[in-house]
């Protein structure tokens, strides 16, 4: 087997593949392209990739089936799911099926790169912590917390409100956090949609996917003043919002319980 390549892009639209290819190449990332899931699987037989980015809607085998096949074959590459039909259901489903990220189309070069870099770093962190090379998203988050992918967490409190934040893995996956942009008080936020932006040292913006829908009733203002605080204590002092959930019963089961991670 030759040396490991960075990215395998899978999409039935050549223009999307070319765009991904150009963007990545300009950043000196090594990219291969596949126009179908079958072609992608074939390439993976002879080549290792650190990261796979795949469309959902493709003829014959779709993105979800590819994701399942990758897991089945024991391939450790992280998979990012991307689709033009960016519904909350698709995003949440992809993440619960083991995709490490979800990126809605159309995306800018920066949005793509921020997701790719995060994905690449995520792979590095996980594999370095786990010498076996298993990239299964083990996230050390406190019990009674719930998470959306490896990115954001939610902690339902006894009074009916819920706290929202990002995991330490998400913070580590983005290099050198420089700023956090939070949404204002009383905003409505929705599960699967972006609810905060985090800027890294390169100037890339990382969107935080909201784990739970609700109305923001408290914003952790200290965080915007001292973003580094989140690196120290992402699960407690580094919370983002306190919200009044609008659809807790429906949305919570879609998240991964951190308690189950500890089993």
């Amino acid at each position: 087997m030759s040396s490991i390549k960075d990215i395998l892009a899978v999409d039935d639209e050549p223009v999307v593949l070319t765009a991904i290819n150009k963007t990545c190449t300009s950043e000196r990332l090594k990219v291969d392209c596949a126009e179908s899931a079958a072609e992608a699987l074939k390439r993976m037989e002879s080549q290792d990739y650190r990261l796979i980015i795949s469309d959902i809607k493709m003829p014959e085998m779709d993105g979800f089936q590819l994701l399942a096949e990758v897991k089945k074959r024991g391939i450790t590459s992280g998979v990012i799911i991307s689709t033009g039909y960016a519904t909350v259901e698709n995003a949440v489903h992809a993440l619960s099926e083991g995709a490490i990220d979800f990126i809605p189309k159309p995306f800018t070069a920066d949005e793509l790169l921020s997701a790719l870099y995060r994905g690449l770093r995520y792979g590095t962190i996980v594999s370095s912590e786990n010498k076996s090379g298993n990239i299964l998203p083990y996230v050390p988050c406190p019990s009674r917390y719930y998470r959306l992918g490896y990115g954001s967490w939610v902690y339902p409190e006894r009074d009916g409100t819920a706290k929202i934040g990002v995991t330490d893995l998400f913070v580590k996956a983005m290099e050198n956090l420089t700023a956090i942009e939070l949404t204002p008080m009383l905003s409505d936020i929705y599960q699967g949609n972006s609810c905060a932006q985090m800027r890294d040292a390169r100037g890339l913006m990382h969107a935080v996917m909201c784990p739970l829908s609700g109305q923001v009733i408290q914003v952790n203002e200290e965080l915007t003043e001292a973003p580094s605080q989140i690196e120290k204590d992402p699960f407690f002092e580094g919370w983002f919002y306190r919200i009044i959930p609008t659809d807790l019963e429906y949305e919570l089961p879609k998240l991964v319980s951190c308690s189950s991670d500890r089993l």
């Binding site: 150009k22 300009s26 033009g84 039909y85 519904t87 189309k105 159309p106 008080m185």
Partner: protein, 621 residues
């Protein structure tokens, strides 16, 4: 049965015509009868006179028994025109003298017409009136009618004292003078009268029919035909079809009621249409979005990639920035369509509406300049924040501005953007659930509903008419149902106890008409104007308690305006007045966005003068 038999016009003509003929017929009958009597009486008088003349002129000759002279005299008189014949009969019935010499010597049956009157009691009657001595008869069925008059010749002293000694003194009647006159003239006159009357009746019938026909055609046929045509139009789906309302009669009222109904139907259909079209638009958008997003990914990734590559070339950067910005806007449009498809709520946050409009203006700046459009605004900084999806709202204003610019003529124009914070009472939205009369009778009527809500039923009297009035239960809405009522309302009562609800002391501040009032259970007094057409209503408790604050944005242009026939359709998906220019998605998307914000969007337009869009967004407390 032929169709024309079923027509109101024909039936009316038939009834009036038959009535006219009947009246003229009865009148003619009596008229001709009295006319005939007058004519006969005249002939009778003449005959009698003649008879007397003959009697007295022959008296002397009789006394001296100058038979030849009598013969000649009777013959000469009998030859006069208009006289049938003159006969003189003796008491035995023998014709002694006659104008027709052949008759002389013949015997007349005592039962024959000329003798019958005198001999009906088997003995001669000495004194008879003229009419008793007169008879009308025909010689045979085909001949003309003849009038005969008999004149008895009485015995006188000179008769029996005369030298001839023919008659005995005991004998009372010596003989009878019988004069007969043909009635041909009279009959001809009567006949011509009958003919005249018949012609008169026929002419009247035709004239009446024509006059009624013309008026029925003008007053009934044409309006009914117009109405039938209108009904067909409405049934065919053209709810813009209106009837002329220029008549003041019942058909005019019907036309106005008809138009009112049509307008209500159009409104209801628009709402139905809107929600239906929105739903199908959503489904369509969902399907299209996926397809659009792939090419959009190409454009967005390429252009943003190029921007990174050309960071050192500011001239290219500017151009690329536009591509990226506009592609991002397209992404938001597609995303909002997808959100719409999922009926998801917009991404609302507290935002400064002035800032949103400013951003929209800077996006459309080039386009407005190109169309030579000036923009005037009245931004004041103390506008309250509204909880909106800034991107969607920006899209709304961009669309409105671009539409306004497109509506301008070559020489350009001005767009006024007017912001105001307004307080709206619950007027137009709050429902009266329980209305009570003075004696606490429930006035609500579940039988008649307006927009699905029970109405307030009042007994109403107007000039001459009486019926029920069903008030729209929505405060400020006036889709009242009028029973059989027309004209001004004279009295309004509780249908149960007939207590008047009219308040003599409170006059309508709008038109000074009388007002009515009733109690709304637990929610104070409700007042309204009794004049049909006046929209004044007052519900003080609601006005005070339920005032909500809105931000009102008016976007007014002085462009070509919207033709009235298009007004009802402009919020429909894919409706466009710009020909091939736009996709027409604009206004229906705007409608959906504003609706998603609990807001209202209305449009007023005067063709040639311009269009004003009014948007009201609630300020959440």
């Amino acid at each position: 049965m032929p169709a024309w038999l079923d027509k109101i016009g024909f039936r009316l003509i038939l009834v009036v015509g038959v009535t006219a003929i009947l009246i003229i017929g009865v009148f003619s009958y009596f008229n001709i009868r009295s006319h005939t009597e007058v004519l006969l009486a005249e002939v009778e008088r003449r005959a009698n006179q003649l008879s007397e003349t003959v009697k007295y002129s022959t008296r002397h000759d009789m006394l001296f028994n100058q038979r030849e002279r009598i013969h000649r005299q009777i013959r000469d008189i009998g030859e006069q025109p208009g006289i049938n014949r003159i006969r003189l009969l003796n008491k035995t019935g023998e014709i002694v003298y006659s104008s027709k010499p052949d008759d002389i010597g013949k015997m007349v049956d005592k039962n024959a017409e000329s003798c019958f009157v005198c001999h009906s009691d088997q003995k001669p009657i000495e004194r008879l009136t003229i009419s008793e001595r007169t008879r009308v008869f025909r010689l045979h069925p085909d001949s003309v009618r003849i009038m005969g008059i008999i004149n008895p010749i009485y015995n006188e002293a000179s008769c029996w004292e005369a030298s001839c000694h023919v008659h005995e003194p005991e004998q009372k009647v010596l003989g009878v003078l019988d004069v007969t006159i043909p009635l041909a003239d009279v009959d001809a006159q009567v006949q011509s009268s009958r003919l005249e009357m018949t012609i008169f009746a026929l002419v009247s019938f035709v004239a009446l029919s024509c006059i009624i026909g013309i008026f029925v055609y003008r007053w009934v046929e044409i309006p009914v035909h117009t109405m039938v045509t209108a009904t067909h139009e409405i049934a065919g789906g053209n709810l813009n079809h209106a009837l002329p309302e220029n008549r003041s009669d019942e058909l005019g009222q019907l036309a106005r009621a008809f138009n009112h109904m049509t307008r209500k139907m159009a409104e209801a259909r628009l709402q139905l249409f809107q929600s239906d079209k929105m739903a199908s638009l959503g489904r369509l958008a969902a399907g299209v979005a996926h397809e659009i997003n792939n090419p959009l990914t190409g454009v967005l990734t390429y252009s943003s990639y190029l921007m990174k590559r050309t960071a050192s070339q500011p001239d290219i950067q500017e151009d690329l920035k536009v591509i990226v910005r506009e592609t991002l806007r397209s992404r938001e449009i597609v995303k909002s369509l997808l959100d719409f498809a999922r009926q998801s709520v917009p991404k609302k946050s507290a935002a400064d509406i002035c800032e949103i409009i400013r951003r929209s203006l800077s996006v459309t700046e080039n386009q407005l300049r190109l169309h030579r459009v000036k923009v005037e605004t009245n931004f004041n900084e103390d506008m309250p924040h509204v909880v909106v999806d800034s991107n969607q709202m920006q899209q709304v204003f961009i669309n409105l501005l671009v539409n306004a610019a497109d509506a301008m003529s070559e020489s350009g124009g001005t767009i006024h953007i007017h912001l105001a914070r307004i307080n709206l009472s619950p007027y137009g939205t709050t429902q009266i659930r329980k209305a009570l009369c003075n004696k606490n009778h429930n006035l609500m009527s579940p039988d008649i509903k307006i927009n699905g809500l029970p109405t307030i039923r009042l007994k109403a009297k107007s000039e001459g008419a009486e019926g029920f009035l069903y008030l729209d239960p929505i405060y400020g809405s006036h889709q009242h149902e009028y029973g059989i009522l027309s004209g001004n309302i004279m009295s309004l009562q509780c249908p149960q106890c007939l207590t008047s609800v009219i308040n003599e002391s409170v006059r309508c501040p709008k038109c000074n008409a009388l007002t009515y009032s009733f109690e709304v259970a637990g929610k104070g007094v409700f007042r309204g104007c009794t004049r049909n057409g006046c929209d004044w209503q007052q519900w003080p408790i609601m006005d005070e308690a339920g005032v909500r604050e809105f931000v009102e944005i008016k976007v007014r242009d002085n462009g070509i305006g919207i033709p009235p026939e298009d007004m009802s359709r402009i919020f429909e998906p894919f409706f466009t007045t710009k020909g091939q220019k736009g996709t027409g998605l604009g206004l229906s998307v705007i409608w959906g966005i504003i609706d998603n914000h609990d807001g209202k969007i209305t449009v007023e337009s005067i063709p040639g003068l311009g269009t004003t869009f009014t948007i009201r967004i609630p300020v959440k407390s």
